[in-house]
């Protein structure tokens, strides 16, 4: 069954793409400037690759949201702990750059969900991008998996700025009405919107919990009946 996504506006997508492109441009200017040290130029090239890859993932996500058809994203039993390990592999350089420690669920976590592995990876990555970008360095970020009734929840907890009550209610309202979700001034909310769309494609949901010292974003997905085989 085709799922028609409510797409974010062009200005939202343009804003989200402009920021990393401006950074890519500056990094390339630095890398090409021989007045800077070899070490600085090498570091710029590494960061250039990281930023370019993130931008490509965003464009890919937008493309997939705009062409969201069930057949393109087959659902199957997926181990969310293994998915987290996949995400961890790609995220470590960025986390190091932002000065964060990310803790991951144990590989012994015995939960299977009905999902598409790639879409689940993107949801977790979007939540983590949000946490990395908007929290202070050296504060922990925790990824956890838990069971909630007949669903499994993968959550990303950050210890960033406390969300005001008004902003929290606005976020809940925006998640409900599927508008783009503005979590912080520099955020158009596109990453959370994409996460929400991907969750819907897998018959799941995303949500958030406001803490005194940060926010938890989570995705809930149906448990797989194959749990009994574990």
């Amino acid at each position: 069954m085709e799922h028609l996504a409510v797409l974010p506006s062009l200005s939202v997508a343009a804003h989200e793409l402009k920021a990393p492109l401006a950074l890519i441009r500056q990094l390339s200017l630095m890398a090409n400037d021989h007045d800077f040290s070899e070490e600085n130029r090498r570091s710029s090239l590494e960061q250039l690759t990281l930023v370019a890859e993130r931008s490509l993932r965003l464009v890919t996500d937008l493309t997939q949201v705009s062409h969201s058809q069930a057949l393109l994203f087959p659902l199957e039993p997926v181990n969310p702990a293994a998915t987290c390990r996949e995400v961890a592999g790609g995220l470590t350089p960025i986390a190091r750059l932002y000065g964060h420690r990310v803790s991951w669920p144990s590989s012994r976590t015995k939960v299977l969900v009905v999902a598409n592995q790639r879409l689940l990876e993107r949801i977790i990555s979007n939540f983590l991008d949000n946490a990395l970008k908007y929290t202070e360095p050296q504060t922990p970020i925790r990824v956890a998996i838990s069971r909630v009734g007949q669903k499994a929840r993968v959550s990303v907890r950050d210890y960033g700025p406390r969300l005001g009550l008004r902003e929290y209610r606005q976020l809940l309202d925006e998640l409900e009405t599927m508008k783009t979700v503005h979590t912080r001034p520099d955020s158009s909310g596109l990453g959370i919107f994409i996460a929400s769309e991907f969750a819907k494609m897998m018959h799941g949901d995303i949500g958030l919990i406001r803490h005194r010292d940060g926010v938890t974003f989570f995705v809930e997905l149906p448990l797989s009946g194959q749990m009994s085989l574990l």
Binding site: L23, M30, D186
Partner: protein, 120 residues
């Protein structure tokens, strides 16, 4: 040595801007938020501010408004460096902003020229 306070929440941008400033002979202090910036200013280690407008939890306007409330801080020169095309220099002038740089088009030398111009 002239001391630049870079108020920028993105570590890659903070690193780049810091290198531009240090290469030009400035010493650099960093802050990620308006509150951290005020702490650095209160320590008396700032001669000029290079300010990003879109920060974690607040915008740079929070810092500009705070500074405007104090006679001595209202005179501290500020250069705004932003991806936000909506802000114009006319809007920022009353807040002591001496120059506005667009992150998407600026060159490293533009940052240095803007800082030196703000201090002149």
């Amino acid at each position: 040595m002239t001391r630049v306070l870079i108020v920028e929440d993105d570590p890659m941008w903070a690193g780049l801007l810091g290198q531009y400033c240090q290469k030009a002979g400035f010493s650099v202090v960093e802050a990620r938020s308006p509150q951290q910036a005020m702490d650095r200013i209160d320590e008396g280690v700032v001669d000029v501010i290079l300010l990003d407008m879109l920060l974690v939890a607040e915008t740079g306007m929070a810092l500009l408004n705070e500074m405007r409330g104090y006679t001595d801080l209202a005179r501290l020169p500020v250069v705004v460096c932003t991806n936000n095309p909506v802000i114009t220099q006319e809007v920022l002038k009353p807040f002591g902003v001496r120059a506005l740089l667009d992150k998407s088009t600026m060159e490293p030398a533009d940052v240095v020229v803007a800082l030196r111009g703000a201090l002149a």
